[in-house]
Symmetry: C2
Subunit: 361 residues, 2 copies
């Protein structure tokens, strides 16, 4: 009777036996094939194929100290921004031997800290974490980590090691500048719920308006800083709903139009809000862009196809994920931990929704 603790699958030893060599040689064929003679190598490969052998990752990890797992911690899987990033990361580790271990912090810094602790306990090959809002203790753990640590999505702070993203301040500033240049004067900001990144955009919006002498704090709407948006006990409508739903966009536009003096343009913190605002404008029979300019954020497919097409700010979400994975691979290859701030840039995508006829500006 065979050892009951053993797996049933073939092991290095069984491949070795079949190929007529020692287990360690099989290991070499797997890990550094160039140092094994061609004939033996072929024999081993054939034997492995015949037995449909697959390495036991746990055993390899245990024996070799290094793992091939990249820990990724994102604040949400609901918000499409982060699934775009995630897709980039997965595409970035394709054709490498790296695995992704994903954690969802649900925008909870304590949960994030827990995940960081747990992931670091597994000695990951690299860590990719979103943003710069970690707790002090999370930050300390990441700084002490013996692997590349890559922060993503943000820029404006001193990174732990490598940070890949874009300036949210610039993003808010540039899209707002565009609205100012189009002649809009009462420009609102539909922030939704405010985190560090949104705050950067808000400050960019504010700066652009202050420079033009038309800043009015009443025109920012951030009162959705509301636990219901992320609280699992919230009513179904919001719980299953995207916290950035188009319905919120509609509601917020109504509120902004109702503030003293109203608004003649709105910068929406994401494209979904913007589409919601567009629908609300249609419902109110406001002409876009004549009566109301609408600008989105992220430049997703949707706003290219709307009627009228919406201006937006293109953010390199997929590219951030791809590059983050690439940096991880590269830093592992070169065993380097050089600090780096990688700005993947942004771009204002100008479309009809903000092309105000100059006559009326």
């Amino acid at each position: 009777m065979p050892n009951p603790r053993s797996h049933d699958g073939p092991t290095l030893a069984s491949v070795a036996q079949r190929a007529g060599c020692s287990p360690i040689t099989v290991s070499r064929v797997l890990n550094s094939p160039e140092i094994v003679s061609p004939e033996l190598r072929e024999r081993v490969i054939a034997a492995a194929a015949e037995l449909s052998y697959h390495v036991n990752v746990a055993a390899r990890t245990l024996a070799s100290i290094r793992t091939n797992t990249v820990g990724v911690i994102l604040p949400s899987l609901t918000i499409h921004i982060f699934t775009d990033v995630l897709r980039g990361i997965y595409d970035g580790v394709r054709d490498t031997n790296l695995r992704v271990m994903l954690g969802n912090s649900h925008y909870d810094q304590n949960e994030e800290e827990r995940l960081i602790r747990e992931f670091l306990g597994q000695k990951p090959a690299a860590m990719i974490v979103s943003g710069i809002e970690q707790t002090a203790s999370s930050r300390r753990m990441l700084e002490a980590a013996k692997c590349p640590v890559i922060q993503i999505m943000d820029l404006d702070d001193d990174p732990i090691e490598c940070i890949i993203g874009f300036s949210h301040f610039d993003a808010g500033y540039q899209i707002t500048r565009h609205l100012v240049e189009q002649g809009y004067r009462r420009i609102g900001f539909m922030a939704g719920w405010v985190n560090k990144r949104s705050l950067g955009r808000l400050n960019g919006w504010r700066r652009a308006l202050e420079e033009a002498g038309i800043y009015d704090p009443a025109r920012v709407l951030a009162d959705m800083t509301d636990d219901r948006l992320i609280d699992p006990s919230a009513p179904d409508d919001l719980r299953y709903g995207d916290p950035s739903s188009a319905l919120h966009g509609r509601m917020m536009l109504r509120k902004l139009l109702a503030v003293d003096g109203g608004i003649d343009a709105v910068f929406c913190n994401n494209d979904i809000f913007a589409v919601g605002a567009l629908f609300e404008a249609q419902a109110l029979r406001l002409r876009v862009p004549e009566d109301l300019g609408i600008a989105g954020f992220n430049d997703t497919d949707l706003v290219r196809a709307s009627h009228p097409p919406l201006s937006s700010l293109r953010t390199p979400r997929y590219e951030i994920g791809l590059r983050a994975a690439g940096e991880a691979v590269c830093r592992l290859d070169q065993n380097s931990r050089t600090p780096a701030i990688i700005d993947l840039g942004i771009e204002v995508a100008v479309r009809t929704s903000t092309m105000r006829p100059q006559a009326s500006g």
Copy 2:
């Protein structure tokens, strides 16, 4: 000098030493605390906390045969449907000791087979795979797997073991019946690109129309069965774009309106197409629902907020993920492998976009 191969972190042995007991007792505190005396247990927990000990997952896996990893294989991370499912899965394994290992097959059955082989090689605790379109060899491997295998998203076939989803045929049938009941007679189907699931919906659409005696095969648009949609070498516009973009919806509506006899309503294979169709209708100054009825699929946030709100078919995407994870946990607990077909049901969400004034019906 310590063993250079060893990790630097604390091990079971160091915790044991600090707690003044043997390593195996520490292991017991971790795995079945109830069999250790309260005092010793407390001492061990305290020692572990002081050293901030974390188990070495690789060592545990190697020693215990069983892993705590659930392999999940999805065909896409681009399509929001699957990220909804993914979110459900992650929420479903929260507060369990299960990990998720995610693979993206990019709608490629060979890639899927590769992933299945690789994942099974790691003796996962369970497997969750999307759909029923596996290759024969994939199917064989999954059937032979020594772990619960849960298929999701579909229903209409004999499952490997447990399948969780809904009937795509019924879905297509019900939403089309609704359109028929509203008095629409030239009802198109905007399929986009056809896989097994879309085909089910198409057949449902067809059946409903045949029953009403108004089926016309010219009114289905499925010519986007186009490799560019999933080919990484496609032009940027499509590559980075969602293969179910609203722009496709706009294009397809134009095509459907141009077929002989035109259409007076359209069932769109997803909500994004439907919103695109709505925008196109707006651009063409077609009144919705009077001139054109529009129905979407999935009932996402977006269609609730559009102007007019779009009817859609609610699909339990998040719930499928949640339940799949739940089934995995449950089957592991009970060590059962009972066949099960779990229909999570669908619902027609009727909104303005298909409420045709009966006078004109």
